[in-house]
């Protein structure tokens, strides 16, 4: 007897259109040396397991190929396509992070130890660059406050200062990049403790590619992208507002807070709208990058035109 059966393949197993379109685009790009290099590196990336975390947007994540080839990481070149070509020289293992300053338990963490401080979560955040482009990224990490609690800050800890790796042998000089190195960033203590602020180790289910700030970076989704410092080697708890790289380079254009603010334009361009990578038109930029409900209260009583 002939029994009619349904297709052997379930609908959930069908490759989503975006995936195969991307693969085509990918194949088209392979003849380019840089892309070919990137293919092999992407294939070798280690998987990183994570549970679903809170605060995720349901917006469509930007393709991995875009997020991993369109980078601002001036240590490896000031063009967007340069970090993915040059960051291969970044040695991410062994990696230690010095946590020091106004804390009861200063410590030099090995990367593996710091990753065990809290369960890894996947969080899909909007990410808005000060240059008026944006992406949506499924990051993997845990709240920065888990690390902060582990080292027990003292009453003197009012700010947290972060520092990136600087290896002049493999990186641009200050003169070439036009900004001082090592790259430094900072948050006010209440910002750093906010559950949205993420200490990040991976994206798209795998460990961070070097050009995206491996092996450990910050993600502060309500602030312009440059606040989310990459390849961190030092975290210091301090009493005074710490210096930050882009503010040192150009104080008129980049403030300490640098919250995404559609009402305060960059002196050279509007912050009212942004181009989401992969989209043709532009979209309106949201106050605090759409995280106002969570973070607006941190800035009550502050004049965000002055404290930009």
């Amino acid at each position: 007897m002939l029994v009619k059966r349904g297709a052997d393949i379930r609908y959930s197993e069908v490759t989503p259109k975006s995936a195969y379109i991307n693969r085509r685009r990918f194949l088209a790009a392979v003849p380019l040396a840089g892309a070919a290099l990137f293919t092999t590196r992407a294939a070798a990336a280690a998987k990183l397991a994570a549970i679903k975390g809170p605060f995720s947007t349901d917006e469509k994540p930007t393709p991995f190929a875009d997020v991993s080839t369109y980078n601002n990481f001036y240590e490896f070149g000031t063009g967007k396509d340069q970090p993915s070509k040059n960051a291969g020289s970044l040695k991410t293992s062994p990696w230690s992070i010095h946590v020091e300053g106004a804390v009861a338990k200063p410590e030099v963490f090995d990367l593996d130890d710091i990753m065990k401080l809290a369960p890894l979560e996947e969080r899909i955040y909007r990410h808005r660059c000060v240059e008026a482009w944006s992406i949506v990224v499924p990051w993997i990490g845990f709240p920065l406050n888990a690390l902060i609690k582990a080292v027990e800050p003292t009453a003197k800890a009012k700010f947290v200062a972060f520092q990136s790796l600087y290896d002049p042998k493999h990186m641009l000089s200050e003169r070439e990049a036009g900004i001082p190195f090592p790259y430094v960033e900072g948050l006010r203590m209440d910002e750093a403790l906010h559950p949205l602020a993420l200490l990040c180790f991976g994206m798209y289910g795998q460990v961070l590619p070097n050009q995206d700030g491996a092996p450990i970076r910050l993600v502060v989704p309500w602030k312009y992208g440059f606040k989310s410092i990459k390849s961190i080697v030092k975290i210091k708890f301090v009493e005074k507002e710490p210096p930050t790289t882009w503010n040192l380079a150009n104080a008129r254009e980049y403030g300490f807070y640098s919250n995404v603010n559609s009402t305060v334009d960059h002196p050279r361009w509007s912050q009212g709208s942004e181009r989401r990578l992969g989209e043709f038109g532009k979209r309106k930029t949201l106050m605090f990058n759409g995280y106002g409900d969570q973070v607006a209260s941190l800035y009550g009583g502050m004049d965000l035109r002055k404290d930009y």
Binding site: R25, A28, A29, L32, A65, D66, V67, T69, Y70, Y74, T78, K80, D81, E131, W133, E176, A177, G178, I179, A249, N250, P267, R268, W269, S270, R275, L277, G278, F280, G281, K282
Partner: protein, 209 residues
């Protein structure tokens, strides 16, 4: 010299095609979707770069004629200048359309408020009368001397273009400075060339074709 007819007659078509290569390459890469993660930015940067390249190449013609002793190079100057305008138009259109989506209120505000846009706009506007009066008919109508005066606007365009680029970049000014140096050399070459020619009576300008 045997290669001169080659220079004056047979090379124009290949050079024309060569000048089109950047835009053809851009179109090809757009079709293949390999313009990178931010294709519109790539198009903006490429067309802007080529506007500056062609401004510099056009400005190089006069000094090169003298230094190389090849006055025939003048035959290419108009075409190269028009290519600068062509890439300038593409660059400006990219801004009007793909960046501002013809929001003229925003555009006016931009040109007014943002110095780097103002500089770029000035450089572009200065090229328009040059393109318009590039024909032999216009040279005749204006008279060589006046025509040449007007066409010195290219100096303004080139300088404004460099300033536009310099003000645009965030911190790495190496490339805008390189363009600045090239334009400075090309303009400086005119000052150096000027001095001895003052002793001779002014010659009528050589008409292109």
């Amino acid at each position: 010299m045997p290669w001169k007819p080659l220079l004056t007659r047979w090379l124009k078509a290949p050079i024309f095609l060569l000048c089109l290569a950047p835009v053809l390459l851009l179109a090809r890469n757009a079709y293949l979707q390999i313009l990178g993660a931010n294709p519109i930015e790539t198009i903006t940067h490429e067309t802007g770069n080529w506007t500056l390249n062609f401004l510099a190449i056009t400005l190089a013609i006069s000094p090169l004629r003298r230094w190389l002793g090849v006055p025939e190079l003048i035959r290419y100057r108009r075409m190269l200048g028009l290519f600068a305008f062509f890439y300038g138009c593409l660059h400006f259109t990219t801004y009007l359309w793909l960046d501002k989506f013809f929001d003229f209120h925003e555009i006016v505000k931009d040109v007014w408020k943002r110095p780097f846009i103002t500089a770029g706009f000035l450089g572009f506007i200065c090229m328009a009368p040059l393109a318009l009066t590039s024909t032999a008919g216009w040279i005749r109508r204006l008279g060589g001397r006046r025509w040449q005066m007007i066409h010195r606007l290219i100096y303004v365009s080139a300088c404004a273009g460099v300033v536009h680029y310099y003000w645009l970049v965030k911190s790495d000014v190496r490339k805008p400075l390189l363009y600045g140096a090239i334009v400075a050399v090309l303009l400086g070459a005119r000052l150096v060339g000027r001095a001895p020619s003052l002793r001779r009576p002014p010659r009528p300008p050589v008409l292109a074709q």
